[in-house]
């Protein structure tokens, strides 16, 4: 029997058209669900950006109307403007790990939100070059440091516990350095409270989150010594699908231009004030 695609016959025309339309829509939808490189984004005139759902001021916040705001949001908005496409935010990932998985699955075109180019994540996605460098800020219990004979000795002491917050940009390097000594807690406040309660000696955060907390709790400066680590500079990056070479290359060029023409400096000044790197 020859296979003939004939739609005449018992099915009325309306239903045939509807059926075609449905199949077309499903197919197109499936296409769009797939990994999008630069030309797909440009063709669709839309950039779908995944953002972490949690709050990480001043990088990622929520404004009064419930829309995402903050330095990273402002930056990706500028990127989309230069790409001349519209921007859609998908804000369902609760942690950076989930966000990276979203990008790897192609559910979004790009991911932003306290992402750094860690080696572990680089197995499944591609990263742009860093567009903003933060650095580590370590808060150390002064008495513990004095007992150990100095902060450096304390870092090397295997019995000194280290805490950090989930999703913090400093985590990849910390896991590498401290391994089992590291305890990850849901928020920075909890991580610091653990140290203040005497259960750990060191808490590590990025300089933005760390100095924000210190400004809100100045008396803690008596108990905790703040040690900025200029040698650990995790950078904020944009994640794209591992197949999206062209998009990655275009983003790198865009970042370079934003660095040169001062727009990134302006963003840093606006959001970070005197904390700017």
């Amino acid at each position: 029997m020859r296979l003939r695609l004939s739609f005449s016959g018992s099915f009325p025309a309306g239903r045939q058209i509807a059926f075609l339309a449905l199949a077309g829509a499903v197919f197109l939808g499936l296409t769009r669900l797939a990994a999008a490189d630069l030309e797909d984004v440009l063709a669709a005139k839309q950039l779908r950006v995944g953002v972490i759902a949690s709050e990480a001021p001043p990088l990622v916040q929520t404004d009064a109307r419930g829309a995402p705001s903050g330095l990273e949001i402002d930056f990706i908005t500028e990127v989309a403007r230069r790409m001349e496409v519209s921007l859609t935010f998908v804000r369902t990932a609760r942690t950076p790990d989930e966000l990276v998985a979203q990008v790897a699955r192609g559910e979004v075109d790009a991911g932003i939100g306290q992402l750094t180019d860690s080696l572990e994540w680089a197995k499944s996605v591609r990263f742009s070059r860093p567009y903003l460098e933060l650095h580590e800020l370590r808060l150390v219990d002064r008495m513990a440091a004095t007992r150990a004979g100095g902060a450096t000795a304390l870092f090397a002491d295997p019995s000194a516990g280290v805490t950090a917050a989930t999703g913090s940009i400093v985590l990849p390097a910390l896991q590498e350095e401290f391994g089992a000594r590291l305890t990850v807690l849901p928020t920075l406040a909890e991580a610091i409270d653990t140290v203040l309660a005497g259960k750990a000696a060191i808490v590590v955060a990025d300089n933005l989150a760390g100095s924000r907390w210190l400004q809100a709790h100045p008396a803690a400066g008596l108990r905790l010594q703040a040690i900025p680590r200029a040698d650990r500079r995790p950078g904020l990056v944009i994640a794209v699908h591992w197949k999206a070479d062209d998009l990655q290359a275009w983003l790198n060029l865009c970042i370079e231009k934003c660095l040169l023409d001062g727009s990134l400096d302006a963003l840093a000044a606006k959001h970070l004030g005197e904390n700017r790197p």
């Binding site: 800020l137 002064r142 008495m143 440091a145 004095t146 007992r147 100095g150 902060a151 450096t152 000795a153 300089n207 760390g210 100095s211 210190l214 709790h217 100045p218 008396a219 803690a220 400066g221 008596l222 108990r223 905790l224 010594q225 703040a226 040690i227 900025p228 200029a230």
Partner: protein, 430 residues
């Protein structure tokens, strides 16, 4: 007119007026006060310009003379006893006061926040330089006392090496029994007298100098920290004043003058030390004051410079009370066994810190803090912040304490301040 103006400028009333004016300007006209800063810098430079050569000449000539005239044996023993007991007695007083008044406990919320903010801000900016502090050891101190290049030490104003060299040279000259060595001693003495004259001229400008030195300091001082650590600041200043007034009694008794006469003579000295925060700059004034009080010239010229470096009782209050403050702030108890550490540490830190400029000197507090297990980094930042409020009084005490030591070591001069030059040098054997 100048002859009438002269004594007026030198009188204590002029000084008092100047003090009040300085404080007033600093508090209410800070911009004007800051504009005066260069003038104060010049005055201080003039004083220091004379001090250093004066100390060198004074020490060399006086010890040369003492050795030559055979008086040394008495002095040395007495000096050591006085210095050691003076230091330890002051340390004991500081400990008693600190434990009784408890400056570091019961810090209010606002004070905690001010201090905490001070610490965090310094550390986050990466300004704190004493992160992993290397303790200043006594061996370092002794090694640093010997100058490899005396001219370099002189050009950098390192007091201890300069003293060391001057002492040795003076001793050598005293032992060398030739006409030339005597002439050299005399030359040093002549230079000394000339410099002293210079200083006396500068003292006419003291009221002006005082205003231009003190007013900017008050204008620049950070008062937030002042309030937070008020207890400690007041305690150190009170301790210094108490020691000073007590010491003054000793001088009065030894010189046979009235208590207030002594104080009057020493007023210039104390004011210079207070305003310049440099004990060296105040030495020349101290020398002439002690001589006017009738002390033997040789002793004064030797003991005061030595004592300022090796018997800095003001520093003892500074470091010991600061250490007690830190211990109380961090809730570290001071059991009886630690009292000994405080006593000895306070004395060692005071002596070690006397040779260094105040910014670097604060690091010596680790001599006290390390054995007690207290955080040095925090201590350095906090104490440096209140240094402008406690350095003046403790410096004044350092100088005054040297005057006390002098009065105890020397015998009352019997009128002639200078022994006639003995051409027959047979007497000059020890």
């Amino acid at each position: 007119m100048i002859s009438r103006l002269g004594p007026l400028l030198l009188s204590p009333w002029a000084t008092a007026v100047a003090l009040v004016l300085a404080i007033g300007l600093g508090l209410w006209l800070p911009q004007f006060a800051l504009a005066l800063k260069p003038m104060g810098g010049v005055y201080l430079a003039l004083l220091q310009m004379c001090s250093l050569p004066l100390v060198i000449c004074g020490v060399i000539s006086s010890i040369g003379r003492i050795l030559r005239d055979g008086e040394s044996k008495r002095y040395l023993g007495r000096l050591v006893t006085i210095v050691v007991s003076g230091l330890f007695l002051t340390a004991a007083l500081a400990i008693v006061l600190g434990l009784a008044v408890r400056p570091g406990s019961g810090l209010g919320t606002e004070a905690s926040q001010t201090l905490g903010r001070l610490l965090s801000d310094s550390e986050v900016q990466g300004v704190a330089t004493h992160l992993d502090h290397k303790a200043v050891s006594l061996v370092d101190f002794l090694v640093n006392a010997v100058p490899r290049n005396i001219f370099q030490a002189m050009s950098q104003g390192h007091q201890l090496p300069i003293l060391f060299f001057s002492l040795l040279l003076g001793v050598a000259l005293g032992f060398t029994n030739s006409l030339k060595s005597h002439q050299t001693i005399e030359s040093f003495e002549a230079t000394f007298d000339a410099l002293l004259k210079l200083i006396e001229w500068l003292l006419y400008l003291l009221p002006v100098g005082l205003i231009s030195l003190l007013a900017p300091q008050i204008a620049e001082a950070g008062f937030g920290v002042f309030v937070a650590m008020l207890k400690l600041i007041v305690l150190i200043n009170v301790a210094a004043i108490v020691s000073l007034l007590a010491g003054n009694l000793i001088i009065a008794r030894r010189t046979g003058r009235s208590y207030f006469a002594v104080l009057r003579q020493l007023m210039d000295t104390l004011v210079i030390a207070f305003a310049t925060k440099s004990s060296f700059a105040a030495i020349p004034a101290a020398l002439s004051a002690m001589q006017r009080l009738g002390m033997s010239k040789n002793t004064t010229d030797l003991v005061i410079p030595l004592s300022v470096s090796l018997n800095p009782i003001g520093n003892v209050h500074y470091y010991t009370l600061s250490a007690i403050f830190i211990a109380q702030l961090y809730g570290v108890s001071i059991p009886a066994s630690s009292l000994f550490i405080l006593l000895v540490g306070g004395v060692l830190a005071a002596v070690a810190g006397s040779a260094l400029p105040s910014a670097a000197a604060i690091g010596v507090i680790s001599i006290l803090l390390d054995p007690l297990g207290l955080p040095v980094g925090a201590a350095v930042i906090l104490i440096m912040a209140i240094d402008p409020f406690i350095d003046p009084a403790t410096t004044a005490l350092n100088v005054h304490g040297s005057c006390v030591a002098t009065s105890l070591v020397s015998d009352r001069s019997t009128g002639t301040t200078r022994a006639p030059f003995p051409i027959n040098t047979a007497a000059a054997n020890l």
